[in-house]
Structure formats: C-alpha cells, structure tokens
Symmetry: C2
C-alpha cells in the first residue's frame, strides 16, 4: 500500500484537490458536509499529511538536533531522557548524534543538522573541541542554540550548567571535614572546562583550609574511565602511601580506584576516603558505597530543551530572547567511602 495523497482523496470523491486540502484545514469557505466527507475518506484511507510539504510552507521542521559526546554514559543518557521527554510534550522530534569526543565529527554533525534545517540545536562539547567556528556558524544562521554541561564560554548562547568549581570545592571540603589531611585528585584531561574547574575547586578548598597543594598528588585520567581509575590508584599506592583521601573527577574513576584498594587490602574509608562525582547508579551498588556529588542529568536535559523551545518560539514570533545562563544546584551525597 502506497502512502495516500490529497489527489487520491479528491479522485475518490470527485472533487478538486484544493477543496480537499481546504477541507482538511477547516477553511471557512468549504461546506460542513464536504468537510465531513473529506475527513471520513481521509480516515478511511489512513491519510497522513506529508510533513516535507508542510515544512516547506511553514519553514519549521519540528525537529531539533542533539550532539552529545557519549551515549553509553549514565549522566548523558539521563540528559537524553530529560530532553526527549520534554520534546515529546511539545511535539518535537530529536535527532541524536554522538561526537565520540571528536571535534572533527562534531563539526561535521553541526553541518548535517544545519543542512537538515532543524529548528534548534542542543550540544555538549567534545573534550577535543577548541575551535568554535562551527558554533559561530549556527549563530550566524539564527538557529537557536543551547549548550549544556560541557560548554564554551566564547559562544554567547544560553547554557545549562552546574558550578563545577563549587561542586568540586564541596567534595574536597567534605573530605577535609571528615579528617583527611593529605588529599589527592584524580583529574581529567587538561583542556575541558569541567576538568579545569573541578581541579580549581579542589585546589581552592585545600588552600582555604590550610592544607598544602602538592602537584605530585594530581593524577591525570585522560579518558576518565574505570581502567584509568585502577591505574592511578596503583601508582598512588607506590608513590604516596601517606595519602588519606582522594577526590576523583567522576564516579567511574572512583569505582576503579576502590576495586584496586579492595584487592590490595587497603581499607576504604579507614585508610583512604574516596569522593566521586556524578552519582551514577553504580556508586550505590559497590562495596563500600561511594560518597559523591549529585549531578542532575535529567533536570539538565529537561531545562535544556525548555530553554531551546522558548528561543524557537521567540524567534518564530520575531522577538528573539537574550541568552540565559542557568546553573543547577549540586550537593554532596554521603555514603560509606568517606568517614
């Protein structure tokens, strides 16, 4: 069975295509009787309007694009969940693209979304993105753009973020308050803003509480994963057996470190306390359960779409909105990996 066209409905009823089209759109110059006939026939034939034709007319695709570094990731999948639930409510479809943390791919995907004429774009940047000309192009084309989580301060668009520096400060302070004196940091790569901010929050908390910042206690986990958490923990045990606390950039790294400590008989939190970041499901399932920072992924996704929707609506009405930065709250979740 082929998709039904207005022409077929018109032929079946022996009326013009224009009348069929007007009847389906409830134009006042078509009689009630004709409207009823046309609608019945359309229903019978399972007619569905051709959205491409509709889009050409209204210049709206009712489709938005989302570029995200990683899909298989508790935080980002929570963000996706928040976005598509909210989009569903407003009748928008979401095209999801994964940059795999690659700037090159991200740039290509932005081009693709522009050529698809999406009504708006949401993005969390790849770790490797430094050049931002692709995002400037989005803005020069007047396409509403909202960034979340991993943002660039150089693009004047709306952003939904957390205060990474404050959250990291709180996490480190929690370790200090529980009695830790010599605190290591397992950080991410050198470039991403959130990796920088979490490091700065850690450093500031040490300084504010009279603890010496020691650069040799900072370990870099480039890919921010379980394996690197294990490796950093192994190195730490060899190089600094006086460390009594670790703040990790994310839960996955902490889970790797705890696995090593469990295997080596290092007691968590008695010998070393550990703070994660993100509050993945896994943090409550491991032994000991992981103290961490709650990072509101679902809420971030929901707010990101809501802001984009407002901007798409404002653009349509010819009254664009100024960009807005929304910082979501984070808080410390105390579990059994800290005293």
């Amino acid at each position: 069975m082929k998709q039904v066209t207005l022409k077929q409905i018109a032929e079946n009823l022996g009326i013009s295509i224009t009348t069929v089209s007007k009847a389906l759109k409830n134009y006042p110059d078509v009689s009630k009787k004709t409207k009823a006939l046309v609608k019945e026939e359309a229903k019978k034939l399972q007619y569905k309007p051709n959205v491409f034709a509709v889009n050409l007319r209204t210049k709206q695709s009712k489709t938005v694009g989302l570029i995200i570094p990683e899909v298989v990731h508790h935080f980002f999948s929570s963000v996706i969940n928040g976005i598509i639930e909210q989009a569903e409510k407003k009748g928008y479809l979401v095209i999801i693209l994964q940059s795999n943390e690659s700037y090159k791919l991200e740039k290509k995907q932005i081009d693709l979304l522009i050529s698809k004429r999406v009504d708006g774009i949401m993005i969390s940047l790849a770790s490797t993105t430094v050049d931002i000309s692709h995002l400037q192009e989005v803005q020069s084309l007047d396409i509403p753009l909202v960034m979340f989580d991993k943002i660039s301060k150089l693009i004047p668009c709306s952003k939904i973020v957390i205060d990474d520096r404050k959250a990291a400060y709180d996490a480190t302070k929690h370790l200090i308050d529980s009695g830790c004196k010599r605190i290591a940091h397992f950080r991410g790569a050198l470039l991403p803003q959130n990796s920088i901010d979490r490091f700065l929050g850690y450093k500031k908390a040490l300084e504010d509480h009279g603890l010496t910042y020691d650069p040799s206690l900072v370990y870099i986990c480039e890919n921010v994963n379980y394996e690197e958490g294990r490796e950093a923990a192994e190195r730490l045990l060899k190089e600094h057996n006086d460390v009594d606390g670790i703040f990790t950039i994310t839960d996955l790294v902490a889970v790797g470190a705890i696995a090593v400590f469990n295997e080596r008989g290092v007691k968590v939190p008695d010998d070393i306390s550990i703070m994660g970041f993100s509050n993945w499901f896994v943090s409550q399932a491991i032994t000991p359960s992981l103290s961490t920072i709650d990072q509101p992924g679902y809420e971030m996704g929901k707010r990101t779409f809501k802001q984009l929707y407002k901007e798409m609506k404002a653009k349509k009405e010819g009254a664009p909105l100024p960009p807005k930065i929304k910082t979501l709250d984070t808080f410390v979740i105390k579990r059994n990996s800290t005293k």
Copy 2:
C-alpha cells in the same frame, strides 16, 4: 544572517534561478565557467541545499526512526550507540523516541514517525504492547521495519535477537554445574516474550538435569529493577532458606539481591550463588563481582541498522527483500558470584 537561497545566488550573479540550480547539480547544458562562478558564490554565501525541497523530489528523508523502551539503561544505550554509529557511516540521521514501556506512547510515536516520512523504523517493543496494529500499519505502508530484542512473533519483518531461552538455559546450567541443587528464579512480568523465554529456559535446564521445578521459587519482578531485586531477596530469605542458587532476569535485579545478602551476612557464592543476565558495567564493579550472560547490545544495534539499510536500499531499487531473523550469540561470563 538568513539561510541563503538559490534566488540570492542568482540575483548576485545576474543569472536565472534555473541556471543556478542546474549549475549546482552539474547539468551538462551549463558552461564550465558558469558552474565555477555559481559554486564560488554558493561557497561564499555558505549556501546549504534545503533538504525539505530535496526530500520532496527524491522522496527520501535520509532519516530513520528508533523507538526504544528506555534510554537510561546500559543495554539499550549500547544498542543506540551501535545504531547511530552505523547510521552515521551511511549518512543517515536517527530520531530517537522513548516509549517508557507504554503501548499508548509507542503507538503515538509510530504515527509520528510515519507522518515525518522516515525512510525506515527500528523498534524494541514496550513490555505492555499486545495489540500490534500500529506495526501492521507500518508494513502496509511499505516502510522498512526492523525489530530487535523485544519483538513480536506476529509481525513478518526482520528481527535481530538473542536466543533468550538458550541463554537462560546456559545460565541455569552454569549454576547446576557449580553444584546448586535448589535454584530460584527472579523473573520479569508475565507478558514480555523475553521474560517468558528466560523463564522457560530456566525451567527446561532444571528438568534436563533431574532437578524438580518448584513454582514457589519463582519470584516476579514487574519492573525489573534494583529495588525489586532487594525485595525478592528479602522474601526468599524468609520463605526458602534452603535455596542455594538464583538466576535473575537481569543484572540490576541480581545487584539488588546481592546488596541484601551482603547486608544480612549471607555469603555469596558460599551460601547462595547468583547469575545475572546482560553484563552491565555494574556487574564487574560490585563485590562479589557478578557472573552473568553477555548480551551484545552494541552488536545488536549495529546489525539492526545494517539490516534496515539493506531493506531501504532494496526498496528504492524496487526489489524488496524477504524478512531475515538474525540470532546473535550469547555466552556465560564466570565471575565471583558463582562457584
């Protein structure tokens, strides 16, 4: 800056829109010189073809739809990953919709994708889907359809699945081989095919190995989550303290059960052995680490898109393919929750 049209290029160069359009498409009746001029101007103005207009012409949207019960789920997010990576390679965009295990929402989403004129649809059914008329409609419209994981045997389309019954049989046999004599099953709801098949695999393995099937040892976890795993474990400890093995429908349920046993001082695997299903990341991170069945999510996603792509191509060429059922291999992963 507005999006650039053919008209603007034509006006800037003082030639007709038709010539511009032909030049951009490399028509032979336009001179090389004009083509070069047009292309240069198009590049200068950052012209991007309007895909809606292109789509109307070619009747291809280069967009496919994916309906999935849950996004925040290790297995499904792995499937999404496999699908969008493969789609990227072939220049397709993926619209992702989440049914939240609701038949009503799933039906609405199918309608939405049809009205968007996607070139193909991929779906894993909601647990509550019994009526399949919405999928019959997809087929009656000749839209290529591929089902994966949670499928309906009543729809004659291609399917990418695992053999749930065999995988559950293998999981139960692993418990039997390790010495378990009285094995409980924490199953899912009564309707979904994979819940039924895993239960049947469990039952068959008991019967084939001379163990009595006891219905009172089968606990239902409707929502297949951590909390229900905890609850079932609590009930099991009260009702059947002679059980020495449990096969759970999924890792999340097993993780809940292990948490209860750890809290109550029940030793895993010495007192009770536990087998999960899916091989989520969490299964390697908990203590003791969870023996489980590897369920190849990424591979399933990759194969699902590949099959859909073949069928979209075949349809375009006017030579539709017969449906194909592909069963992916699963295998037992032995960790520390079984002897």
